[in-house]
Amino acid sequence: MNTVEGLKYTKNHEWVRVENNIATIGVTDFAQSQLGDVVFVELPEEGQSIHAGDSFSVIESVKAVSDVYAPVSGSIAKVNQELADQPDLVNQQPYDAGWIVTVELTDSHELDELMEAKEYERFVSEGGH
């Protein structure tokens, strides 16, 4: 299982990278490995506002389906349209080209609730899924 230092993680296996109040959101390497071959990502609309804890996207693999929950609240700035054509980017590069949306944060304090890489690794290894 791969994690990346400096990102924040959720118990639902999403990651967040924050730069200048813009949060980029994707799912973790562990999440993609559990799903298997991703075949479709249902993408939200740009401009749509989301609330922490709500599902805003759905990832489908051949034999499974999983909601993606917003780790933070805000309005969706950009959606990764590449995923429409190449959903397997989620498998291949979960922390890079496989990102799902960017969000303009409304409450940066929400980030404090999230886990650091090490903490998340421990959470997963203790069977937290």
């Binding site: 071959d37 075949v39 479709f40 489908e60 051949v62 959903p87 397997d88």
Partner: protein, 482 residues
Amino acid sequence: MNGHLTVFELSKPGRIAVDMPTSDVPEESLETLVKAEYLRSKPAQLPEMSQPDLVRHYTALSNRNFGVDSGFYPLGSCTMKYNPKVNEDVSRYSGFADLHPLSSPKEAQGALELLYTMEQYLAEITGMDAVTMQPVAGAHGELTGLKLIRAYHRARGENRTKVIVPDSAHGTNPASATVCGLETVEIKSNPDGSINLEALKLAVGPDTAALMLTNPSTLGLFETHIQEIAQIVHDAGGLLYYDGANMNAIMGVVRPGDMGFDVVHLNLHKTFSTPHGGGGPGSGPVGVKQNLIPFLPTPVITYDGNQYYLDQDRPQSIGRMHSFYGNFGVIVRAYAYIRSMGADGLRQVSEDAVLNANYCLSQLKEHYHAPFERNSKHECIITAQKQKAFGVRALDIAKRLLDYGYHPPTIYFPMIVDEAIMIEPTETESKETLDGFIEVMRKIAHEAETDEAKVQQAPHSTVVGRMDEAQAARKPVVRWKD
């Protein structure tokens, strides 16, 4: 190669596979009969085939398909028993096959008698008070049953919205609850798939509409605490729903109605020998206890001792679940089956089905991990846990079975058992067939240890190899295009 080409690739303009008589009425131009804007602008590009080519095409396709008549088909939870041939014949009798559903009941007395009698038989077999034959599949039966339960609570002025489902349940159970506008509460099962009574006690409450249960469970084990379970649910004001997928284990031995269930659905295409048809048509009749009778779908078939009628005047009914009366043609087959077997025959069916499953288990447990010590009912579970150590998974074992001419068992279900392989032989398989299968399963277990690549890359002898399912789902090609 013929079987591989599609009907569109075989098509050639000018051919036809059935001769049409010419119209013998005085005709007018289409434009005078129908507004020009309503007329089709471009004819549908249907394939054009001669009759011999058409027959060869479909025969070739049939040769690329495996049914119960082709060989052993121990697909767990699907009850792939033999489909008696006389049942096929009787269902095609003109009085059934060419009977218009909107005939007046007077012209359909034989059909109504059959439906009415079938309701009585199924009520007797399940220990319920009344049955509707309308649902056409197991999932359709579930939806009907849950709607009956909702209507019952509603009529009592109660708004109960939660359905308790064990985590070992068939996926249809929670899906049916959702389609019925109910919320699913999943409770964790005991490791053997039985209901955890403590979890159940915590889950029930004034919002409990029902508990959905399969007994024997999806693990093929009898729920021995069923009376306590019924008590807990009934005390909370909820009802007990019986998923009849596993009814083949207990006919003539024990009845859901006597266990305390209020609503049951059956799968005539499982328990009562009607063909699965490649995924339907099925039939999923629903039986209920007395207090739910007013809510049954309309029309209800009634009998005054002389004539059969269709009763539409049922103010508390949930309404109609099917355009007509259900899959009548399937019901005719199941009726013929029950008449062929009788009470003794049906009990023998269950005894032999259970015997076959336990025999398979007894002969395989040395070679495969068997997670449960108890006697199973009509299906048994082994796992690929031992083989996993060699890199061989349940899927690989299933695919390797194809090379030996068997349809594989159900794999990866129930989900609470890792690497599950669920074998349901059914009663229509002989000891010789089972012994042949057991021998092959042992051989595969040996191959897993000595030549794992052979198993991992199976099948080798089928017309096609393993399919790229990810490609199919990423860029779906779901129709022919020129």
